[in-house]
Amino acid sequence: MSTAVISSTSAAAKAPGKLRRPSVPVILALTWLVIAVGGALLADVVAPFDPLKQEILQAMQTPTPEHLLGTDVLGRDVLSRLMHGAGPTLSSVAVAVVAYTGIGLVLGLIAGYSGGWTDRAVVALTSIVIALPVIMVLFVVLSVFRGNTWLAMLVFGVLSSPIMTLLVRSSAIAVRNELFVDAARVSGLSPLYIVFRHVLPRSRGLIIVQGAVFGATALIVESSLSYLGFGTVPPNPSWGNMISEASTVITSVPWLLVPPGAVIALTALSLGVIGDSLRDSVSAGWSTSKLTPSGRRTEAPRVAEAGTGPLLAVRDLSVGYHSAGGIVPIVKDVSFEIGRGETLGLVGESGSGKTTVAFGVLGVIGEGVAVTGGSVVFDGADLVGQSDAVLAQYRGKRIAYIAQEPMVALGPSHRVGDQLREAIELNDGLTGEAAQQRVIELLTLVELRDPAGSARKYLHELSGGMAQRVSIAFALAGRPELLVADEPTTALDVTVQAGILGLLMRLREQTGMSVLIITHDWGVIADVCDRVVVMYKGEIVEQATAERIFAEPQHPYTQALLTSNPHGAQPGQDLPVITGTFTTPSMERAALAGAGTGAAS
């Protein structure tokens, strides 16, 4: 036994450090913002010309070495006007952003941290302000206070602040409920100190993201107002009124539209890029798709004559997922067969790769995972890498699937009866009334108490046991020859487990189908399986008939797994657990090869 235990030395890859280097777009965005703000602050010093100086003779020029961005209708230097126009534009955007983040922060922290009626009052206020048509209010403000864009942008910031308030509030609530904040409160620290020391730093990322994105919006709004003539009054420049002036001559010098528009777009884009990059680093990445893309092969090669060999023959099946460092294997060289009418149990602890094998057999391994080798031969035809068109002949029709979690197996937004009917239409060729009858027939077959009533229900209205019966009805819709059941009872209440297992056994007798059942429950194996395959770390360590496995387990891992079966445990004693690491076939091969080379040198 001691030889079987190998100390694991594979060093886990180090988690990347917290601070990541900013990406190229972020560096470009920051650079642009520095240029824009710097140009605005130093306009008096660095601008090549007086922004108001007219030279009619040089009017409407496209870029020249002297006037880098050309000249406008009155012969004024566009670059200088852009630099001088940045001041009013950016400062009123800043006013809006400060109001937005300031009010959002204060109200959000107060509401989130204090809770109770203060919280309710703030939430009620925000829900009303959010419903106000903000842009319309701005025009009312501007119609009364002419040309006062600063005030308008202040109002814009104030009226938009509920979004920030709600975000800060929820983040403050999350922090407030944490243990260390409780401890700080109990130890008598002042609320203000706690907020600044503990709550605020946690919400910082969120505030910057939201502030940057709002800044982009505010810039667009400010330039719209300015374009409409409600901002900086000509001849003084602002980015928006420069576009408005350019629009009067778009037929003769369309070029004039480009500089001010591009400057606005670049600035808004930079703010957006910064916000987005921060958001991406705050939130987790994309969830991977569970829908498997179509394979490239359009014809299933015949490995053997149909109807002759075993129903399913899996040969050297290897599955891995792509990562930065290459392909990481999940399942290695798995081979087994299932005969017609036979029930095979696939057993192993969590993470041993047994579910991945099932997905490989079904051709639904999902995105980002790939079969890296081997074949899955069903009734003489290799199904690996086949296109959806080929697999359509098998999925649901000849091979069906029951999942571990019945409560998430069906679509949540369609009635279960409608989905079952769809499965019948797809896999059994029935339509109309006949399909509807078959729905009831199948639901009766899986021993649901009220088949017609259950058909009208949504998934969330069913219990786990009922949902699993509906799943089984689903799998039976196409009258399959092979049923793959992935831990069909694990997620269910103990009291209904036996019922579901019994149902599966009765259905197997009635239909004569083969079953691949995945489980970690020796009781299930003993009850239903003809043969057993034991998996460990993605490899098969042993396969034998059910009787033999229980009587004479060969591999140390199988022995350990059998010992840890809680069904045999004595009351009052600790449950047995698996400790140590065991060798797998690939380790043995590697060890042999290593010994060989060692001897040779």
Partner: protein, 314 residues
Amino acid sequence: MIRLIATRIAVSIPVLFIMTILTFLLASLVPGDAATQILGPDATPERVAQLNAELGLDRPVLEQYLDWLAGIFRGDFGTSLFSGEPVSRLLEQRFWPTFWLATFAALVSAIIGVTFGVVAAVKGGWAARVLDGIGMLGISLPNFWVALLLIVLFAGTLGWLPAVGYTAPEDDFGEFLSRMVLPVTAMSFAGVALIAKQTRESMAEALSRDFMRFLQANGFPRRRLILKYGLRYAAIPVLATISATFVNHIGGTVTLESVFAIPGLGSMVARGTTNHDLANIQGAVLLFTAVILLVNLLTDIVYTLLNPKVRANA
């Protein structure tokens, strides 16, 4: 469901009142300005006072407000200070151009945005990155600038489409459509970006659900899983974004109707703001607010219809 609608209406009514009070309060801060505006800076104080009395602007604000409010219930929104026309008639005339513009833009944004979003979610990789880039650009470009560039290109250089102006659909439907193309395109830019982004996120989430694998393994074709089950799962957040886009478009009409010289509510607000024509602004803003609240209410109703869990509880 009825309770949900009732709650939404209960929030809507105070919002409408707040808007009316807001417009009036702000107006009252600068009394008499309207008469000076109409008569010009050279008018005698007596003449100004007389006109103010004629227009009823010398009365207490509260009285004016209640009068105006009572008028609205009779369908009377007052009289434009400049043209002397009843505001209600102006609103009626100017409602449709704005309605078509905002509705078409919302439809176009929804169709293109959802298509882009689904493709990016399903294809992933470069398609998603390209979409991210387009999305960023879409919300960073000022719509009036895009509009001017479109005019330069399609009306100027290529000469394919009329530059500005509006024709009512009942007068000449072909002309109506050709004049709608550029404003709708300019307006849809940001909408497409936002809707595509939301669709991609919600669709990616839908595809990551276990039921996708279960149904695929049991013979449901991929296309049907994406287009029926995936879209259905993603419907609620996507719908919320489409509704928000429509509301944004209503704000956008003010700028774009000015660019394209479309005689709608948006340009009425812009003109009224320049002219200090408060009666016009009050009327238009109130109508806009009512439309926005209505859209939100409809969105809520569709939500409850789409969500079996809410529907069951209501």
